[in-house]
Structure formats: structure tokens, C-alpha cells
């Protein structure tokens, strides 16, 4: 096993699946010779050739359409949108077209596309590079939306996404790309989509998070431990569909829950989780289910980023409200 950062694990997953299936194609802006602006496709063109790993003209909508057309010829396209803030340019291809392919063809066609894109704040990018726009994807039936929080998960989830016969939006948090290393097996392995992971077990409180907020939640749980509270941290990993079973089982055990998202509060991934808990586990609750989220402004200019983004202190503060209710 090798120690890998998340971006290395992603490259490794792409390489593994390109070796495994000659129908897998990787393309996008600067992904070929340049290996992607974050080097997520580093070395792939050299290994697999320009026929399978290629640069496209600079147009996100075109990249989305290209993926759909290639899928119709039996390929398994893995396009990259260079930054997820650019997703508005390709919204019709994603939500209007690939998400509907199976449905509008009465189940006779499909779009096995994995659209990868970096997102998320904390690394001082210019405007439109760091927004958390995942709600745009989770609100569209027909898509699956995956957000890994560790190198190990990233590889296993990406392989599952590429093998999936429906379109998957695979969101890679910018801050997590190189924030830590982890043992990652060299061979192919899969982590099922739609399955959350309990990243830390606990008995007093369930903290549900995804993406970069998983690390913040784990930090908060450690601090809470010092004060005598045992917090369980669930990493959603797939935010559409949600792993309701794991969430409910945990809430039934702890009786208290909170949900953490990096996106603005009005971008309601967390709200959706809260509603599911209300629907299914209200009688197990000892306290209201609270949320930690970013304020409802546009994603901030970089100098205000650190204050704007939710962090472990915000999580601890809210956790105490839930714990002492």
C-alpha cells in the first residue's frame, strides 16, 4: 500500500479504471498534457494516449454534450469541469440531458458518465472557483452526487462512480486535495454509492457531515470528548441518494443530532437530512436537530473566507446547544 493524498488517490482511481475498461475516456480543459490544473489527471495521457485522455476546446456546455454523445457510442466518459463554479455553463447538459437520458428514453438508453469537478472553499481562489453548489445537483432526480472526504474513500468511490450505469457527479473538495495522506491500496476496490461511513463512533450525539466538514466535525468531536461528550461522526460520502438507514440508526442510538454543511444554510442539503430525521426518528430525539452552515451570502471574497466557512468551533458551539437542550 502507498501513502497518497486525495488528489493522488483520484489519479490512481482513474488509472485503475482506464486499465480495467477501455471504454473509459478522460477529457476536459487542460487534462491532457498538462495533467489538469490540480494534476488530478497527471500522467494519464502519457500512459493511455491522446485517444483516451484529451483536451477539449474551452466550453463547459460542449464538454457536457460531448460526454453524452460519447456515452451514446458505448463509452464511459469521465469529463472534468475545471472548477465547479463553472457548472452553470453546463447545467443543461447535466440536469436537462444526462440526468434524463434513461428516463426520457423509457429506460432504453443510459448515460454512464462520471463528471468530476473540484469545489469548496478555504484556499483563497478567485470568484466562482470555490462555491458549494452541490444542491443544484442533489435537487435533480436522475443524478447521483458523491463527495469524498479522505484519499481512501476517494479512490473507492470514484471507481464505483465510473462503473455505475447512471450519471454521477463526483465533487472533489479543493482543500482536501493535498491536506493529508492515507494508506491507499494499489489494486482496484469499490465503496458502494449511497452508503455513509461512520468516521467516529459515539453515544451522546450524531454529527452528520460531508466533504471538508467531516474533518472539522472530527476535530470538534475530539474537543467534545475532553469535556465528556461522546460524539458520533457520520460522513455521508454520497449526498444523493442519502444513506437514511445509517443516519436513522445512529440517531436512534444517540437521541441527538446535528448536520454540518459548508454550503450556505439556504442550500439545503442539511435541511433535507433534518427533514428525513423528523420523518423517521422524531420519537428518538431528545433535542431539536440543529444545523451548522455558512451564512446566506454569495461565497465571500478570499479575505473573509476563514470567518465565513463553518469550522470546528462553530460545530462545538452548536453541539453544546443540542447536548444541553
Amino acid at each position: 500500500m502507498a501513502q497518497m493524498t486525495m488528489v493522488q488517490a483520484i489519479t490512481d482511481a482513474l488509472k485503475t479504471e482506464m486499465q480495467n475498461d477501455e471504454n473509459v475516456l478522460v477529457f476536459g480543459e487542460d487534462v491532457g498534457n498538462n495533467g489538469g490544473v490540480f494534476r488530478a489527471t497527471e500522467g494519464l495521457q502519457k500512459e493511455f494516449g491522446e485517444d483516451r485522455v484529451f483536451d477539449t476546446p474551452l466550453a463547459e456546455s460542449g464538454i457536457g454534450g460531448l460526454a453524452i454523445g460519447l456515452a451514446l457510442q458505448g463509452f464511459r466518459p469521465v469529463p472534468e469541469i475545471q472548477f465547479f463554479g463553472f457548472v452553470y455553463e453546463v447545467m443543461d447538459s447535466i440536469s436537462g440531458q444526462m440526468a434524463r437520458m434513461r428516463f426520457r428514453s423509457g429506460g432504453s438508453l443510459n448515460a454512464p458518465i462520471t463528471l468530476r469537478s473540484p469545489f469548496g472553499g478555504g484556499v483563497h481562489t478567485p470568484e466562482m472557483h470555490a462555491d458549494s453548489l452541490e444542491l443544484l445537483m442533489t435537487s435533480q432526480p436522475g443524478l447521483k452526487v458523491v463527495v469524498p472526504s479522505t484519499p481512501y474513500d476517494a479512490k473507492g468511490l470514484l471507481i464505483s462512480a465510473i462503473r455505475d450505469n447512471d450519471p454521477v457527479i463526483f465533487l472533489e473538495h479543493l482543500k482536501l486535495y493535498r491536506s493529508g495522506r492515507q494508506e491507499v491500496p494499489e489494486e482496484a476496490y469499490t465503496i458502494p454509492l449511497g452508503k455513509a461511513d461512520i468516521k467516529r463512533e459515539g453515544k451522546d450525539l450524531t454529527i452528520i457531515a460531508y466533504g471538508a466538514m467531516v474533518q472539522e466535525s472530527l476535530k470538534a468531536a475530539e474537543e467534545l470528548e475532553k469535556e465528556g461528550y461522546s460524539a458520533e461522526v457520520i460522513d455521508l460520502r454520497t449526498i444523493q441518494p442519502l444513506d437514511i438507514e445509517t443516519i436513522v440508526a445512529s440517531v436512534e442510538k444517540t437521541g441527538r443530532a446535528m448536520v454540518v454543511q459548508e454550503a450556505q444554510k439556504q442550500a439545503g442539503i442539511a435541511a433535507n437530512v433534518v427533514a428525513e430525521i423528523m420523518d423517521r426518528a422524531i420519537l428518538s430525539l431528545e433535542a431539536p436537530v440543529l444545523r451548522v452552515a455558512a451564512p446566506d451570502s454569495i461565497f465571500p471574497f478570499s479575505q473573509a473566507e476563514q470567518v465565513w466557512l463553518p469550522n470546528s468551533k462553530d460545530i462545538i458551539e452548536t453541539a453544546k446547544k443540542v447536548l444541553t437542550f
Binding site: A59, S61, G62, G65, L66, G69, Q73, Q97, R104, P241
Partner: protein, 370 residues
């Protein structure tokens, strides 16, 4: 690129010079006479009769569809009369292995490519079984988002190139569609990859009510190909032989690895935009209508074939009767489709039904089995 040093570059003169190059290709004039021997595709008598039959059949299909819609027996329908040469003569130059990415007015090409007529009716009625594509049929259901099919066509064409197929991706939009970003991205991507695609713009003069001259200051839509570095052709879209000829040439270039072509067919839709309440008298005069009716593709093709002695009223009536019977049978078949349920729809969301959808499926299965 060599710099021009002797005199100043004149961008206006250059534009005009390019625009003047885009002359309309015509083979058969309004009187049914060959006016361009060189471009005459020299189809056999059988081929000419077959193309005429398809145009007559499709005109009847259009008339019947409009009347079925008025009786409430069809749903969404975009009339096609006036566009038979653009639609059917272009399709006549294609092969089964070619992949069609249509707009919503392009139902005739899909039918002649093999989409069963009763399925086209089910599509119109809003039944999911309409779009269930038979194995091996190379078409997509009609696209609703104007221009979206253009970028997908670039992808299908690139896929064909990678698969080393002797086939092309063919897509259609209208004059309005040529203003969309996806139009430019589609022709530019396909050009950049030299992918085997043919991009049609059926310029029927109006995008719903907005006239062609408001879409662009470009003199022709065909010249937009220049910006993408691909060949562009302006063709008389009421002339089946010209449309066939330029399509066949574009297909041959694509198969030879020479990349995509943009073809603008100048045509006219006699009817409304769709049957959902559009009233063309709000934006067109009857003078314009009758001017275009004189150019009618069926009239000129009929004259041409009659002069050759290979078409007559009897033959035409045979086609009309056949069309009427087949349409009747297809309506009957569409009528017999099972009632559509929410259960049906939830089942075709994903390959494997996820947790949230499964819960709803259980609810609807119980509801709908009552």
C-alpha cells in the same frame, strides 16, 4: 500566418467577400427543371420515386397529425409541411448506421430511419413508451432544448471516429437554434476533433414568431461555419435534389475523415410553430406564405418526375392511400398502449432503484394497483 504589409487590412471588405461566396445551391428550380447539371445527384428512377413517395407520405402524415391533434387524439405536434425536401432529402442521403439527433420538428426523419409510427404518436401523446428505442435504431428522441443536440452530435461523431465506424452523426436545428451557444460549441468541437458530423440548420424563416433577420446580422447562417473552420453550405431547402446532393457530399467528406459540415437549408413551414396555440397570422402575411408555396418541394419534384414519365396521379394516390392506412393502424396501435403509471416512471429513474425512490415506488404501486 504571413502578415499583410503592403496595405491595410480591410475587415469590412473581407466580410463582404466571404458573404458573397455563400451562394444558394439549387439543382431543381420551381418549374421542376434541372438548372445545375453538375450538382445533379443523378438518382435512379427508383430512388427518385422513393424520395417522392416519402415526401407525399410525410405531407399526408402532417395533415393527419394536425387533424388528430385538433380532435384531441394527439398531443404535442410541430407541423412539417414545407420542410419535406430539407428533412427527407437530407435523410435520403444517410445510411442506417448514421445517428440522428433531431429537434422536435424532425419526427419525419426519425420515422424514415426506423422509428415505428405508433411510437411517434405515443411520444406526441406524452407516453414514455414512445421514446423506448428499438435495439440498433440510431436515433435520439426529439430534443426540446434548442441547440442541445448540436453538442451531443459532436460527441456521437467523436465516438464514431474513435470506434472507426463508417458512419456520421447528423443533427438538425432551426434558424433560431443557430443563435444558441450550443450551436457554436457543437460545430466548433466537431471541427476541432475533425469528427464525422453533419449539422443542419433548417432555416424556415421564423423562430416561432421571431423573423430570421433578427437572429443575426450574418447574411447567411451557413457562413457561421467559417468561424469554426469547417465547410458551410447554403442550399435551396425546397429543392430535394440540391439538399440530397449537398448532404451526400458532406457525408462523404465526413467518412473520408475530413470533418463536419454545416448545411443551411432555406425553407418555410406552412403551418404554425406547434399545435399549441401559435397563430402565424400575427407575424407573417399571406403574401409571404403564397410566395413560398410557389417554391413547394412536392410541386417541383412532381413536375420533374412527371416530365421524366416516372410519376403520375395514380402513383401518388397509391402513396396517399398507403399513408392513410398505415397512420390509421398506428393510431390504433398507440391506443392499445397500456395506461402509464407513476410506478412506470419511478422504475426508469436509475438502473438500481435507490432507497428514496424505492419508498415512493412502494407507495405508488399500492395506490395504482387499486
Amino acid at each position: 500566418m504571413a502578415a499583410k504589409k503592403s496595405q491595410q487590412f480591410d475587415p469590412v471588405e473581407t466580410l463582404h467577400a466571404i458573404e458573397e461566396k455563400f451562394e444558394m445551391v439549387q439543382v431543381l428550380n420551381e418549374e421542376g427543371e434541372i438548372v445545375n447539371e453538375q450538382a445533379d445527384p443523378k438518382l435512379s428512377d427508383e430512388e427518385l420515386q422513393e424520395l417522392m413517395s416519402r415526401m407525399v407520405y410525410t405531407r399526408i402524415l402532417d395533415q393527419r397529425s394536425i387533424s388528430l391533434n385538433r380532435q384531441g387524439r394527439l398531443g404535442f405536434y410541430a407541423p412539417t409541411a414545407g420542410q419535406e425536401a430539407s428533412q427527407l432529402a437530407s435523410h435520403f442521403a444517410l445510411k442506417k448506421e448514421d445517428f440522428i439527433l433531431p429537434g422536435y420538428r424532425d419526427v419525419p426523419q426519425l420515422i424514415w430511419h426506423g422509428w415505428p409510427l405508433h411510437q411517434a404518436f405515443l411520444f406526441s401523446r406524452g407516453h414514455f413508451m414512445g421514446n423506448q428505442m428499438p435495439e440498433g435504431l440510431n436515433i435520439l428522441p426529439p430534443q426540446i432544448i434548442i441547440g442541445a443536440q448540436y453538442i451531443q452530435a459532436a460527441g456521437v461523431a467523436l465516438g464514431m471516429q474513435k470506434r472507426k465506424k463508417e458512419a456520421v452523426a447528423v443533427t438538425y436545428t432551426g434558424d433560431g437554434g443557430s443563435s444558441q451557444g450550443d450551436f457554436y460549441e457543437g460545430i466548433n468541437f466537431a471541427g476541432s476533433f475533425r469528427a464525422p458530423a453533419i449539422f443542419f440548420v433548417q432555416n424556415n424563416q421564423y423562430a416561432i414568431s421571431t423573423p430570421r433577420e433578427l437572429q443575426t446580422s450574418a447574411k447567411t447562417i451557413a457562413q457561421k461555419a467559417v468561424a469554426a473552420g469547417i465547410p458551410g453550405v447554403l442550399v435551396d431547402g425546397m429543392d430535394p435534389l440540391a439538399v440530397y446532393s449537398v448532404t451526400r457530399d458532406a457525408r462523404e467528406r465526413a467518412i473520408r475523415g475530413e470533418g463536419p459540415t454545416l448545411i443551411e437549408t432555406l425553407c418555410y413551414r406552412y403551418g404554425p410553430h406547434t399545435m399549441a396555440g401559435d397563430d402565424p397570422t400575427r407575424y407573417r402575411t399571406s403574401d409571404t406564405d403564397s410566395e413560398w408555396e410557389k417554391k413547394d418541394p412536392l410541386i417541383r419534384f412532381r413536375k420533374y418526375l412527371e416530365a421524366k414519365g416516372i410519376w403520375n396521379e395514380e402513383k401518388e394516390n397509391e402513396v396517399i392511400e398507403k399513408a392513410k392506412e398505415e397512420i390509421k393502424a398506428a393510431v390504433k396501435k398507440a391506443d392499445s398502449a397500456p395506461k402509464q403509471t407513476v410506478t412506470n416512471l419511478l422504475e426508469i429513474m436509475y438502473e438500481e432503484v435507490p432507497f428514496n425512490v424505492q419508498e415512493q415506488l412502494d407507495i405508488y404501486k399500492a395506490k395504482e394497483s387499486k
